[in-house]
């Protein structure tokens, strides 16, 4: 019975959406604000990657909210999992090959993540992707070497400081130049060089640290045993 009703509901949704889709032809549709960003984005923000200039420039307030959401997830996970029973069982150790391989790859992964979030304004990537790569590097170590854990204090500090840098940079914008929150007050530099686009690379580096340590603490809390 329940299946039947859900199927009917789904069919209604499909019909509605198909009807609406006819208004939005595929591949012909460049929206008004999209056009504006593509045409003016590189001059106004100095970033070669327009997606970055939208994420950290025009719509940076969204990004602030998004970082908050991630922060909340880490905190909420900790609050929920604090009182779980800890299980105790013997763990099969990782084989030597996996262990050595992961330890060999770990610096590489970190270097690569640094590349991703430093070059966020020039090539695809940025704080979130870089942070995710950092977290997966640490995940690799957790998986391959059971018992190794990250320094929690350092992790918390990098998490908080990353967020604070974002907000403080935003607040500086209130007092210089055009006087609005998250204004890009630093010089724009030359397009397609590393030191360009004003505050965007700085924010992305802060975000990389913050996202990396948040995802890291999420994984760490979920894997916590003993």
């Amino acid at each position: 019975m329940k299946k039947f009703f859900s199927l009917i509901l789904l069919i209604i949704i499909v019909v509605g959406m198909i009807y609406t889709i006819h208004q939005i032809p595929f591949g012909k549709n460049q929206s008004k604000i999209g056009k504006y960003f593509v045409a003016n984005g590189k001059d106004e923000t100095g970033a070669a990657n327009i997606v970055t200039s939208v994420v950290v420039g025009y719509r940076s307030f969204d990004t602030l909210g998004e970082v908050t959401v991630l922060f909340l997830a880490a905190i909420g996970l900790g609050a929920i999992l604090t009182t779980t029973k800890k299980q105790n069982h013997d763990i099969e150790k990782a084989s030597l090959i996996l262990n050595t391989g992961c330890r060999f790859l770990f610096p590489l992964v970190l270097l690569f993540s640094a590349y991703i979030f430093i070059h966020g304004h020039l090539s695809p990537g940025g704080g979130f992707q870089g942070g995710a790569v950092v977290a997966s590097g640490f995940l690799l170590i957790y998986l391959a070497c059971p018992g190794k854990r990250i320094n929690k204090v350092g992790n918390t500090i990098s998490e908080s400081v990353g967020g604070l840098i974002f907000i403080i940079l935003g607040a500086i914008g209130l007092f210089v130049g055009d006087r609005y929150f998250l204004a890009n007050f630093l010089p724009k530099g030359e397009l397609n060089t590393l030191f360009s686009a004003g505050i965007i690379p700085i924010i992305y580096i802060a975000l990389g640290f913050k996202v990396g340590s948040e995802l890291n603490s999420v994984i760490d809390k979920m894997m916590e045993e003993s």
Binding site: K2, A48, N49, P124, F128, L191
Partner: protein, 119 residues
């Protein structure tokens, strides 16, 4: 072929959305439902990205000389989806932690068998 070109991404996105919703509405196992949630989110993201596509377009990155702005795909949906993916991850992690707690307290993941609270 024309039909396929115009609608294949929409078919994929709606397919994912529907499968995700179906899992969420019909299944009772909590982890299964969370898998459904992740599929649903992937579908929504694919849908939003599809909205910004432009025929013969290219990515909105001015990394080389001969790129013009009128052949670039819309950057805004990409920015939105970037946000949505991270939010989805946050919800997923929270849901899974709740699932772990649920299993600790009730020794089951089947939501039908849990009747602590009633109307």
């Amino acid at each position: 072929m024309d039909f396929l070109y115009n609608y294949i991404y929409y078919i994929g996105a709606f397919g994912l959305i529907l499968i995700g919703l179906y899992i969420l509405l019909v299944k009772h196992n909590l982890i299964k439902m969370i898998i459904g949630l992740s599929i649903l989110e992937t579908g929504v993201n694919l849908f939003i990205i599809t909205l910004g596509y432009l025929d013969n377009g290219t990515a909105p990155i001015f990394s080389k000389e001969n790129l013009e702005s009128n052949m670039m795909v819309d950057p805004v949906p990409q920015a939105l989806v970037l946000t949505a993916i991270v939010i989805g991850l946050a919800v997923l992690a929270l849901a899974l932690s709740l699932a772990i707690r649920l299993y600790d307290s009730f020794k089951t993941l089947n939501l039908k068998k849990i009747k602590e609270q009633k109307w």
